[in-house]
Symmetry: none
Subunit: 186 residues, 4 copies
């Protein structure tokens, strides 16, 4: 019995599982079983589990970029945009059962062997950092100051997601949001 679109189904299935239980917590067997594919079909499309991880991170990055562009292109002041961003994060966090940031969760594993995965993580993180700098530049005239504030927002957001995940509480996100707003409204 042959089913088409195995590649898509595999990626979608893996996306859900990797996000919920982490890259190292999910095996190929479970992925292909839930995707309804044969093992060899998997390896036809992805040369290794690591490459699937890369594809997953890439797909998450695309959705993240789409949201960020919408937010940045829309109306509102810098602090409003930042607040909206943190509120969005909080919603995601609760909906996902406090699973935090897929990139940080993957980076927390010792994946030193896979440069491809590390590269995806860096790409996403640098992109996020750039977004926060753009937001800061809306409110702060001095470029150097804007960059510093942008980086601070980036660090705040990362810490908020991580600790909310660790503690299974939302207050870190709220704290970060208030700090962000304060930095931008000064």
């Amino acid at each position: 019995m042959k089913k088409p679109n195995a590649k898509e189904r595999i990626l979608e299935t893996a996306a859900g599982l990797f996000f919920q239980r982490g890259y190292s917590g999910v095996g190929i067997n479970e992925i292909i079983e839930k995707a309804g594919t044969a093992k060899a079909s998997f390896y036809q499309h992805y040369p290794s589990k690591e490459s699937l991880c890369e594809a997953w991170l890439k797909s998450v990055h695309e959705k993240s970029e789409a949201f960020a562009e919408t937010l940045l292109g829309g109306p509102g002041s810098a602090s409003e945009k930042a607040a909206a961003y943190f509120e969005h994060l909080e919603r995601l966090l609760v909906e996902s059962g406090y699973r935090g940031c897929p990139y940080s969760n993957t980076g927390a594993l010792s994946v030193e062997k896979s440069p491809g995965i590390c590269r995806q993580i860096r790409l996403h993180k640098e992109s996020t950092r750039r977004r926060f700098r753009q937001i800061a530049a809306l409110a702060i005239a001095d470029p150097a100051e804007a960059e510093l504030v942008g980086d601070t927002l980036f660090v705040l957001q990362s810490g908020a997601m991580g600790e909310a995940q660790n503690l299974r509480e939302t207050w870190p996100v709220e704290v970060a949001r208030r700090a962000a707003v304060a930095l931008l409204e000064r």
Copy 2:
């Protein structure tokens, strides 16, 4: 040939390995081999791998507490203490090859099955949060305000460690330190 202190040797060996490669990246076999113990001796002292993880986290917590107490009990203003703390983190980070926070790294795994590990993480994180609130209280009179600033420092610190690990760069720690100092010197 009986070797004493098996329990200690196991814990020390595991501490090094868990820290460097993460809880899920190290197997029991490697631990007992490097510790020079037999398989069954391991299970005599630790009923499971998870319990060893708990013991590891507990031991890390003790060292962390000792450092924090020294810092808090010593001389210096709030912002000086905070700056010293972040400089300490940066040193650890570089020395360890950018391995970040053991608790966050462990929490990034989906270890929902082990309440003991989650508990250790929460204990340590709440304790760290309390330390930052204490530092903030040194500089800020209003209790509510001090708590908020303390939580912000906590979030900053966590994000700094996480992103420094992800990017293998130290700037997130420096950014966090400057933000912390700014918050405390206002």
Copy 3:
């Protein structure tokens, strides 16, 4: 993009790989990849991997026959022909990195399931045996004696190739050549 001569390219590619790493050491995937063909194109030309093996052995046999006919039809005494034959073998051996006889290497696998492959091996081996008997008949009058000597040359040659391969040294071929010459010059 259609490429002609797919069948030939497959055979040539497989010939190189089978010779170097043995029938069981080469997979279909590698063959079609290096030949630049699609999976299904392969099975259009060869119903199975075993049939490709047969085709390979057949093609090797043809080249071998051509050489033998040239040698036999040329000038020189029986012992000169035999010596030339062994010198030829030694050259091939060194050039190929001591890969020995493709037929013996294939026969060493337990390919009991494939009568076609076994048949090719037998065909080649019996033909080689006949050649040696012909050479022996040039030097030895008595037919029964000539047959025995021919068979002995055949066995010597086979052992020489096999052990040269096992030891990665050429002395077995030289030993066999000297024994062959001695048998024919008596």
Copy 4:
């Protein structure tokens, strides 16, 4: 349900299977199933399939050495010993269903990656060569001549086993035996 002596059972089972169908023709699964062991028990005793192959070849070598020593230490002239040796080979060959020499069969695979296996093959082959030189030295006074004849016997024996395996006939062994006797009785 735990059974002791897994290591022995694994080696004995593997010996039979490797001999009959070749190293590459037998999988770990079949070995452990027929040996009645768990897969992890296998890897407790043998770090890899290749290491099991080495152990197998080593065990075969020991039996082979025992036979050779008995033969060499016993009574009889050089040609009688050689004849007995070839008759022994012929018996083994028929009994085993024409499976030839385990070392040559293993060496025919492209096992370039495993130096351990290659080493076992070389050890056995060089030892066999030495035995034949010893036999030749019993009949031939000149040392250089004896060495050459010994090597010739070695090559003859190898070719005989290989071609008997290829053709599933015993005549190569008989031809080799007659050639050997002729060389020693001259």
